[in-house]
Amino acid sequence: MNRLLRFLVRLLPAEFRGDFGRSIAADLDERRAAGDRMSLLRRELPGLLAAVVREHASAFQQDLKHALRLMKRTPGFTALAVLMLALGTGVNVAMFSVIDAVLLRSPFKDPSRLVEVHQLSDGTPSALEPEAFAKLAASAHPFASLAAYDFSTHLLTGSGDPRSVPLECVSASMFAVLGADPIHGRWFGADDDRPGASPTIVLGFELWQELGGSTSIVGTPLRINHTPVTVVGVMPKGFGGPLSRPRTRVAGWVPLGRPIAGGGHDGCASPFRVNAFARLQDGVTIDAARGRLSGFGLLALDDHIFDRVGTPLYSLTAAVACVLLIACFNVGGLQLERMLARRHEMAIRTALGASRGRLTRQTLTENLVLGLAGASAGVVATWLTLRALVSLLPANLPRINEIQLNVRALAAALGAALVASVIASAFPVRQLRHIRPGSDIAGGARAGRRLDSWTRRGLVVAEVALSVLVLIGAGLMIQSFLTLRPSQPGFEAARKTLGRVRLPKAPPAEGLQFAEALMERLKSAPGIRDAGVSTILPMRGLSSHQAYEVNGALRPINTYRVSAGYFELMRIALVAGRTITEEDTAGAPPVVVVNQAFADRLQQDGQGLGDWIPVKATPRSADAAVPRQIVGVVANTRSTPQHTRIVEEAFVPFAQQPTSAFFVVAESRGGSDAAVAAELRAAVRTLRPDLVVDELEAMTVMLSRGVEHWRFGAWLLGIFAALAVLLAAVGLMTTMAWWVRQRSREVGVRLALGAGRGEIARLVLRQGLTLAGAGIALGCLAAAGVTRYMALWIYGVTPLDPTTFAACALGMLAVALVAAYLPARNATSVDPVVALRSE
């Protein structure tokens, strides 16, 4: 027989082959003997191929019918299994959608060839000095294209309200580097990217929409920094420049070589440093490229994004994978139980000639149907909850707006369903090997019990271990969040709105004049109770250091320059001395107020209230230090959301050290934040129509945004841990219920021999808690091995925090106790007479 034909015969389903395989072989042999080989192949190949497809389809159809019948017959089991798999696949599909948008999908062509270029000084990477970039660009570099960019806020006027727009100033070659096409118009050419060229801008999708979204905008001018700038193109939705930062959604791109200066704004003229991106030449690996550069470092663009968001996203993925695995183990355990109950049926079918392959396939089909039903339900659930999930994510996650359920997510759901069916089938299928038609038909469902009860118990142990693992991860995250949560930042954020004002190219005195006029106007506004200014604000993550000479050494201290009444406005408690008042004018004696932490340090050095300390306005300035008198001590405030460490801080009067850029804080009389924001904006515009207020937001929003990273981690991991624990509890409960059913005879005997009901309940509880205990121990061990990968993301607790581990272990044990209680109670209601008679 022809080898190809023989192969096809082997592809036929085992049953069909068993019935007709030998006949087919005999026929083909005889045909071959009668005719030539080619005609044999020509005549037989199509028919056999069709038979392979047809027979498999028909077998699958039969299995499917059987599976559906079985599911209908046991609606309780079906509902439970589908629900568990829906939870498992649902959370995975949701997480996949997030990772797909944030990490996997790229708006760039061939993103794996994109690198970020750093300048290395003493091995430390930093952005490039413009001269270094020019040198690199002129050298024989390993890049197909190389581009630089800088970032600056520009002023847009003449299109609705004047406002700040964040623009990236990029080399014309950035287009070639990133390889993204404008949807309208064109990208800059080299002609646009040189001094003296007529100024041009490429709009981002969102700004284009804001400006009306018409294609006729290409070729028309916008007023940027009071300069007419021609729109040459529009980029597609989702394109956000090299790093796609969402917080400051890049509104557009202007040529770096032709900065748009005007009206006091200098655009990106004379940048201090530039960021550089490059596309590697074809066939050059990143390592090879590194070898050809000296003084420059390379980082794959994917790694850059990964570094920032990789740890949290992969921790969450690991958590949802655990949830799916627990769901699979649960379904697998239940299927195992069903397989044992159907052992009799399976044995009869084996005796009647059903091959093990056939029974395996049938089990797989059953689980596939369950898996697909679960995945479908999971997808629907995800679709309904994805918006809520996205709202829990930190707003500064790259490409967060692109998160959606797409074809890839559906493929992921299908993949999860397949994986789930295979895992859930593995345990019952293994069982098929032990079927012995002889003894099993005679012995009914009872034979082989011992062996499988070990598998089942192992599954429960694994489930508990996995859920403890997720629980500990969530515990560490929740602890971090609770630690960092700005419940007591040292000031009162309620009813306050802040905004940032910048007077372009204005001397400090003009800044002071404007700040005073603005505060006067705000304090007389109807909805505003009080207002003040400060160069930096607590919990905003900005710092500004001045050097204080203490015992001959210069100490850099985070220094605020605040208006009179700032402490009263912010409700920062005065500890000693006085606050900064209207009397602390430019001409008055220089004073400084220090926080408690700095006061403590000064006291150690023998200085305190009333003493004079020399201060340099910048740590490096060559100016002589100005002595300032310490007039007050205020309570500590938290300076940044990232940590709770109290830093030493000082406050000098804004009037004595004014600047042209500052924050303004307004406290409402109880009206809405939006109303205060509108009054703030109106006050600034009345005083200077060309100015805008940036970063306007309620102070409470600022506080919660600072910790959103931890909040979303705590929430999501918390939810996943709750699901994991719930599923593991269901697993433990069903397993113990099964164990009790299996042992009803033993329980009956014990009861008949005079054992008390309490003793029986204790027996079951002990068994359940032993399994849970083993799982908890394993879970803690596993957690001890992996929580260090979360180290970058947790705060205030160590990855091996004993309190968290102990709390999670105890929590799981308590859940296990409840889960084992119901089956234990059932065990005590066994009627010894019935139990003994039934077997």
């Binding site: 005999a26 199509p46 028919g47 191929l49």
Partner: protein
């Protein structure tokens, strides 16, 4: 499957290939290749069944009770022990007869169209 209670008409119409296989089994028990050869001879080579198609039909015939495996085999010298011989059941015979009657009726009906008579 009690033949008496089953209506042969329920299985009609038969596919042409199935019809030919039943006809091939009408006069003698045959094995697979013998069926293929008989069908080919009866139709002057117009119907050439492949083994893949044939055994799909045989599976249907067996499960529908139109044919059974034949208990009698030729003498050992002419036999290949891998072969299975098939025999038409009385019910199968009824079904093929019903199909012949159905086809005859169709042809009769067609003949009443005058313009088709010569063709």
């Amino acid at each position: 499957m009690a033949d008496a209670s089953r209506d042969p008409a329920a299985l009609l119409p038969l596919t042409p290939a199935m019809f030919h296989v039943l006809v091939a089994l009408a006069d003698a028990d045959r094995h697979g290749y013998a069926i293929i050869k008989d069908v080919s001879a009866r139709t002057n080579g117009a119907v050439a069944l492949g083994t893949g198609t044939l055994y799909g039909i045989v599976k249907r015939l067996l499960s529908d009770g139109l044919a059974i495996e034949s208990p009698t085999r030729p003498s050992a010298s002419r036999d290949d022990e891998r072969r299975i011989y098939y025999r038409l059941t009385p019910f199968g015979r009824k079904v093929v007869a019903a199909e012949i009657a159905r086809l005859e009726q169709m042809v009769q009906a067609a003949r009443t169209a005058r313009s088709l008579r010569k063709a």
